[in-house]
């Protein structure tokens, strides 16, 4: 696959890389160093080097013979990772890269300033990406995919290296975000807890001090966790932070934030504009919003059914299902307003029969007892103020504010 390279050319490419590597360290040039470690970037320079390594065979000798030998523990494994990556041996590439990264961390610990943070970011990113690919390879040959889990353990170690008083601590949130990506992928989101606790309570960290890109990513993931925990005010706060701070150039990320923020906002009685749904292609929510506006129970159920897979996959199905109570509230309110226009004096008495009739019109078959049950839930949850005249099967609404608004608060539990 590689074009023919002479031994001399191969040797030149290898020493060129080694020179760049040692120059980057001696001049504390984090950016250049990071480029030399971006195994999965497929940069031309690295591909050239990978081919040279295959031709030359014995690059380790070059490393050990020269002034680069002090970084041999990093370099030997970076070379191996790179070469294996080029040959598509992804498991091997991951394992070598993990060794290189371990050696890198040892050096990084000893550097007093934070100049090499950018290189550390690349290590954290690469370890995750290489592990993902290694796992795909493992699964394809029938073995247990376990590298991504290993990458998680490694990154916890990296987190520990950064979580100190010094200037390197601003890098801790980047590593945290890489960990989130791993845990969400593996479905082990409970493991997020300990890093979150550290970020949010350790005195060494001041959240505002972290780079904005990491703050946005962090708030996105912790916001999703709050959605799963059904803690909607917290989810609203975090996802709204992510939304307002996200770079407008990253439309895909904005869309992902909204995918979770929209149901959260709906659950506290706030609707997205049609423009917002349209602009970010979130049409699956259009009918849900319309159902809330109308009080159209049938439409809500239909919308949930139509996009069931999607809502279940993202974990917002249960949130949306609970909107039913708000839709009932809206429907009863509409009945109340219609009655009021006809006869203002009797409007606050709503016969359960009438609600049954309205529901039947919506093709929802419920008897009076079931409707009474729904009404008592609405009253209990403070979505309706009133009481029952049980015998006459009438709900008597309060004359003042019979349909309290949520005003940004969740429905009572």
């Amino acid at each position: 696959m590689a074009a023919y390279i002479s031994m001399g050319e191969a040797h030149r490419r290898i020493t060129d890389y080694l020179n760049r590597f040692s120059d980057a360290i001696s001049s504390q040039d984090g950016k250049s160093l990071s480029r030399l470690l971006s195994i999965s970037s497929d940069s031309t320079g690295l591909l050239y080097l990978a081919d040279a390594l295959t031709t030359f065979q014995d690059a380790n000798r070059v490393i050990r013979q020269t002034e680069y030998s002090q970084y041999a523990d990093i370099l030997v494994h970076v070379f191996r990772a790179l070469q294996s990556y080029r040959l598509k041996n992804l498991v091997e590439s991951y394992m070598a890269f993990e060794k290189a990264s371990n050696a890198f961390i040892q050096e990084f610990r000893n550097w007093e300033t934070a100049w090499a943070l950018e290189a550390l970011y690349v290590i954290a990113y690469e370890i995750r990406i290489l592990a993902e690919r290694a796992d795909i390879e493992l699964a394809s040959i029938g073995k247990t995919p376990e590298k991504l889990k290993g990458a998680g353990s490694f990154l916890m170690k990296v987190f520990g290296v950064l979580a100190g008083k010094g200037p390197k601590r601003v890098g801790a949130l980047y590593v945290t975000c890489q960990l989130f990506k791993i845990y969400f992928k593996l479905g082990t989101v409970n493991l997020c807890r300990s890093v979150i606790r550290s970020i949010e309570t350790a005195r060494i960290f001041d959240f505002e001090e972290f780079p904005v890109r990491d703050k946005v990513t962090y708030m996105y993931y912790t916001g999703r966790l709050e959605v799963y925990n059904e803690n909607f005010p917290a989810a609203d706060h975090k996802l709204s932070y992510a939304l307002t701070h996200c770079s407008t150039k990253k439309e895909a990320n904005i869309r992902m934030i909204l995918k979770y923020l929209v149901p959260v906002k709906l659950s506290i009685g706030i609707l997205p504009t049609a423009l917002l749904l349209e602009k970010f292609n979130l049409n699956e929510y259009a009918d849900v919003v319309l159902a809330l506006k109308r009080g159209d129970l049938r439409l809500l159920r239909h919308a949930l059914e139509e996009h069931e897979d999607r809502f279940l996959r993202s974990g917002v199905y249960l949130v949306l299902e609970k909107l039913e109570l708000q839709v009932y509230q809206r429907l009863v309110k509409k009945i109340y307003i219609i009655q009021k226009q006809k006869d203002p004096n009797k409007a606050h008495q709503i016969k359960l029969d009438v609600i049954v009739k309205a529901l039947r019109w919506l093709e929802i078959d419920m008897d009076v007892d079931e409707v009474e049950c729904i009404m008592s839930i609405l009253i209990y949850k403070n979505l309706v103020k009133g009481y029952f005249a049980h015998k006459s099967k009438v709900a008597v609404l309060s004359k003042q504010d019979p349909f309290p608004k949520l005003n940004g608060k969740p429905v009572n539990a």
């Binding site: 890109r213 993931y221 770079s247 407008t248 307003i337 019109w361």
Partner: protein
């Protein structure tokens, strides 16, 4: 020095191994932006006073008709 080098020739076959459909895209490491200004417009795209007393929309009109119709007729429609 660069010629077009072969890219990894195919995307890896997607195995439903572990998935998170909503994995946040990486921001560029050195990407920075004015965090105050960026989201201003988008965060105004919410309504909290939609729950009005307006019953002039089609849905409400139909509902009104339905409630005013006599039960027998209604029964006939659904059986």
């Amino acid at each position: 020095m660069a010629t077009e080098k072969q890219k990894p020739d195919t995307e890896e076959v997607k195995i439903d191994l572990f998935e998170d459909d909503d994995e946040f895209e990486e921001f560029e490491i050195d990407q920075d932006w004015d965090e105050k200004k960026e989201g201003e417009e988008i965060s105004s795209q919410w309504e909290d006073d939609w729950d009005d007393d307006d019953v002039k929309d089609d849905f409400s009109q139909h509902l009104r008709k339905e409630l005013e119709s006599n039960p027998a007729k209604n029964e006939a429609k659904f059986t």
